[in-house]
């Protein structure tokens, strides 16, 4: 009893060393900092978009540069951020739809509710005053339903989140040949190799690998392979037993009845009776 060793399973876990604890703290701090950076980025996008658009004159035909900028900046927004953006644009006397340069509607003074025939009777004044027209509301909400409730830091590394703008139903102008070619070119997958690499990175992100959080900051993991050379020959699965190989199951011999009785006594006997 003197040399009784406590089994490993019930021993107190050893306390992490100072370096381990520090590394763990740094890892968590990095994740938090990453989140904060993303929040700051969203806020600055919001400020940028709150005075948009610089080049567009009509909301139904947005300038391509403006549209691209809008789609890039809006990518990481949550629906609540988008609501903030609309409120902020209204503070700046602009229509809530980011690509509309006009002022929002002003219904004059009065109570909390107002009559708006286009929007379905009696509605809140605030909701009418968000937009310049019902059309802009439709365009803005078309974008909003594509935004995801998932937190920004869980989506930041995923490259293929695309926000689509509302396509005007009356775009009757026929597509010119040049435009069509350009569109097809952009749809073609010129870089299949890179695509597969991106897919790999995305899978890594889903697995929650830290290195994929910040592009460029790849951590080199020191991998040490230790190979054990096995000395003894593996079991062949065949015994040299003249009694007959037919009694072998995966290299082990099945006991015959009399051997049963010798090894396990009465219980084996009872078994044999039961089998009859």
């Amino acid at each position: 009893m003197d040399d009784y060793i406590i089994p490993k399973s019930i021993r107190q876990p050893s306390r992490p060393s100072k370096e381990d604890a520090r590394a763990l703290a740094v890892q968590h701090a990095t994740i938090l900092q990453h989140r904060k950076d993303l929040e700051a980025q969203i806020l600055s996008s919001l400020v940028y978009l709150s005075t948009f658009p610089p080049n567009t004159t009509v909301a139904s035909q947005p300038n391509p540069t403006d549209a691209r900028e809008f789609r890039n900046h809006i990518r990481l927004f949550q629906p609540s951020d988008y609501d903030d953006l609309i409120a902020e644009r209204n503070v700046n006397d602009l229509c809530g739809y980011v690509l509309c340069p006009r002022e929002n509607r002003k219904t004059g003074r009065g109570g909390e509710w107002t009559l708006a025939p286009g929007a379905g009777g009696i509605v809140r004044r605030k909701e009418v005053e968000m937009w310049c027209t019902q059309k802009c509301k439709r365009r803005a909400l078309y974008v909003k339903v594509q935004l995801s409730e998932t937190a920004a830091w869980e989506r930041a590394g995923i490259p293929d989140i695309e926000i689509y703008l509302y396509e005007e139903p009356s775009s009757s102008a026929p597509e010119t040949e040049e435009d069509a070619t350009a569109r097809k070119l952009s749809e073609m997958k010129l870089e299949d190799e890179r695509q597969s690499m991106r897919d790999g990175a995305k899978l890594a992100l889903e697995r929650g690998e830290v290195g994929s959080l910040q592009p460029g900051a790849k951590t080199a993991v020191g991998v040490m392979l230790q190979e054990h050379v096995v000395e003894s020959a593996p079991p062949t699965g065949v015994f040299e037993d003249e009694d007959g190989d037919h009694m072998m199951v995966e290299g082990y011999r099945i006991l015959r009845e009399e051997e049963h009785m010798v090894t396990s006594g009465t219980s084996a006997q009872m078994n044999t009776y039961g089998n009859r």
Binding site: L43, V47, S50, L85, A87, E88, V91
Partner: protein
């Protein structure tokens, strides 16, 4: 309100602003900035004389004021010496209080206010506005926090000085030394104290910051007075 048009609405507005103005002054004085008694307690008539234009409306630009910290406040705000900075100076400075009349409040107004504070070398700013901030503006308030301390109060919240209410006990902010002495006396760690939120109305009134300790003195039927301490979180 404007629909009535006449003097009634205007005089109501004047009374509201007078009360908010007084509460702000009391707040600044309670935070130990230098303000004399007769600067704080002015009557409605004197307020009308000084800050109203002839047509009876208040001139908000005149309401803005600044205050310098008093000696004792400067002494209290000195941070603990560190290896990098063995002789730290006081952490506080003059404060600027502005009454804003904007109908809507966004990030741009906040930015303009912060810029004004920084260019005029104030250490803190207090905005009194009569509409709520947009949520994006509130977020941006946090982002400028490490450059300059800006607080925002609604006019409606300042009509009454809450610390004068009979159910609100007396709150005293402890200085750094007093806090150290308290923790030593009771052999406590900081985290073992009861807590008070920094968004608590009284904490906002006193401008409490994280890790400051406030002493709360209540009257007690059995003990006469009863003091408790709370850590701001």
């Amino acid at each position: 309100m404007d629909d009535f048009g006449g003097n009634d609405a205007k005089s109501k507005e004047v009374v509201r602003l007078w009360r908010a103005w007084r509460t702000v002054h009391e707040m600044i004085a309670d935070r130990e900035y230098e303000l004399s008694e007769d600067e704080v307690k002015i009557s409605l008539d004197r307020f009308r004389e000084e800050y109203c234009s002839p047509d009876g409306s208040v001139n908000r630009a005149k309401l803005n004021f600044s205050a310098r910290p008093s000696e004792s406040m400067m002494r209290k705000s000195v941070p603990a010496p560190t290896a990098a900075n063995p002789n730290p100076g006081p952490d506080c400075g003059p404060v600027w209080v502005e009454f804003l009349s904007d109908k809507t409040f966004g990030i741009q107004q906040i930015r303009a206010f912060a810029k004004y504070i920084i260019t005029n070398n104030y250490k803190a700013g207090i905005m009194v506005c009569h509409v709520a901030l947009s949520s994006a503006a509130r977020k941006s308030l946090v982002s400028v926090e490490n450059m300059v301390k800006i607080e925002c109060f609604l006019e409606d919240d300042l009509l009454v000085n809450i610390t004068h209410h009979e159910l609100v006990p007396k709150h005293v902010v402890l200085s750094r030394e007093e806090k150290a002495a308290l923790l030593k006396r009771y052999r406590l760690k900081e985290t073992q104290l009861p807590r008070i939120l920094s968004k608590d109305p009284v904490a906002r009134y006193l401008g409490l910051q994280r890790s400051q300790v406030v002493k709360i003195i209540r009257t007690s039927e059995t003990a006469g007075r009863y003091a408790s301490y709370r850590l701001c979180v």
